[in-house]
């Protein structure tokens, strides 16, 4: 699969050179929106009217935080993607030669929200299982109430996902934001998943099924970030011990 991945990756890259040009505008918009969001977090944006009050930034340098860093981002270019089947995958132009660690399923996000998870890392290319895949599942929560439930795709429409197991006691409304939850195994909490488009009230159960509009527009996905979880091994080791003892 890896050698073939290199070959198909090269071909797809050629195709993407053309395709990329036509999708530049949307890719640009998504990136500048993300920039805006990040710029709003900068320290110089915050200034109180009261000059007697002083603002401090934490003096911890980033280097000293490395020991507690959990997620590391790698940017990557999408070279081939399609949304027309029931199990969609896309290829990104980054592999083990560009520093992507092998043999683990890393989360992948786009500038707009979650995008998928890595299933195979090659030398220069990697294959990502898209959120629009029947086998994909991610645990997420409502931003307002914090109720969690699994999000998956029902294969119907590439613009909509499905969030189940939201108790009927929750006060969910159309347009509410859904984020990744803190028990999600590959994403940090608080990454955008989508917004509630429709609340399906099943009379026979105590749970709502929510139809979500995806945050990411998969048909013109051009740039993504791969998230390496640096504390994964430790966590998995602990969980394995528990699983065995059970």
């Amino acid at each position: 699969m890896n050698v073939a991945g290199e070959v198909t990756g090269r071909v797809s890259e050629r195709y993407n050179n053309v395709e990329y040009y036509f999708k530049l505008k949307q890719a640009n918009e998504a990136l500048s929106k993300q920039n805006e969001h990040l710029l709003n977090l900068l320290r110089q944006d915050y200034e109180g009217a009261d000059t007697a009050r002083k603002f401090f930034t934490d003096t911890l340098r980033v280097d000293s935080l490395v020991t507690i860093q959990r997620f590391k981002y790698y940017e990557a270019k999408v070279v081939s993607s399609f949304v027309s089947t029931q199990n969609n995958y896309f290829t990104i132009h980054r592999g083990s030669s560009q520093g992507l660690p092998k043999d683990k399923e890393w989360g992948v996000i786009s500038p707009e929200g979650i995008a998928g998870r890595i299933v195979s890392v090659g030398e220069n290319f990697s294959v990502v299982m898209s959120v629009l895949n029947r086998q994909f599942k991610v645990n997420s929560m409502l931003k307002k109430g914090g109720e969690t439930g699994p999000v998956s795709w029902d294969g119907d429409n590439p613009h909509f996902l499905r969030l189940i197991n939201i108790p009927k006691s929750s006060r969910v409304a159309k347009g509410d934001t859904v984020l990744t939850s803190n028990v999600s195994d590959i994403y940090p909490p608080g990454i955008m998943v989508g917004t509630v488009a429709e609340i399906i009230d099943d009379k026979s159960s105590n749970f709502f099924t929510l139809k979500l509009k995806t945050a990411t527009n998969f048909s013109n996905l051009q740039f993504v970030y791969v998230l390496q979880d640096l504390q994964r091994e430790e966590r998995e080791k602990l969980e394995d011990i528990y699983k065995k003892s059970k």
């Binding site: 699969m1 949304v83 027309s84 029931q86 294959v127 029947r134 086998q135 429409n157 590439p158």
Partner: protein, 177 residues
Amino acid sequence: MSSLVKNIIRFILFILVQVFVLHQVPSLHKFITPYLYYLFIIWLPFSMGRSALMLLAFVFGLSLDYFLKTPGLHAAACVLVAYVRPFLINMLIRQEGDEQNYASPSITSMGWAPYFMMVFILTLLHHGYLVFLEWMQFGTFLYFLGKVLATTGISMLLVLITELLFFRKEKFRTNTV
């Protein structure tokens, strides 16, 4: 152009069209996936033996699998198509010996009705098998039935358009000088 060169070009072209044109089309409905690539196997010459046909179909299907990241689904369906093709040709060809007189299955060599009968059966088999493998993972029987029928319909339309756009004139070959 020799038959070998022609088929090599077709091989590449069919894969590229399937991956970069038909799979890029925004999905109309979950039942519809436009497939055309397996027409390559139908267009292969009469003179190929069954084992050679199946081997080539396997390589062809596998190369599409690598592009679409599916675990051998298309390879399996292609091998099935290649296996059944000779039976259908024997059954549907107009005249005994036509497979010697013409190079490959087409409208001219087999006639409209028999040719499209063959294409229809092979399309149904191909999609049936492909969706069956998918159905074992998820979906209901209605999903299986709907998808096979809808996809076959779209495929037949694509095949018809292709046959009309790229009409292949087959030369009648005889031993008599």
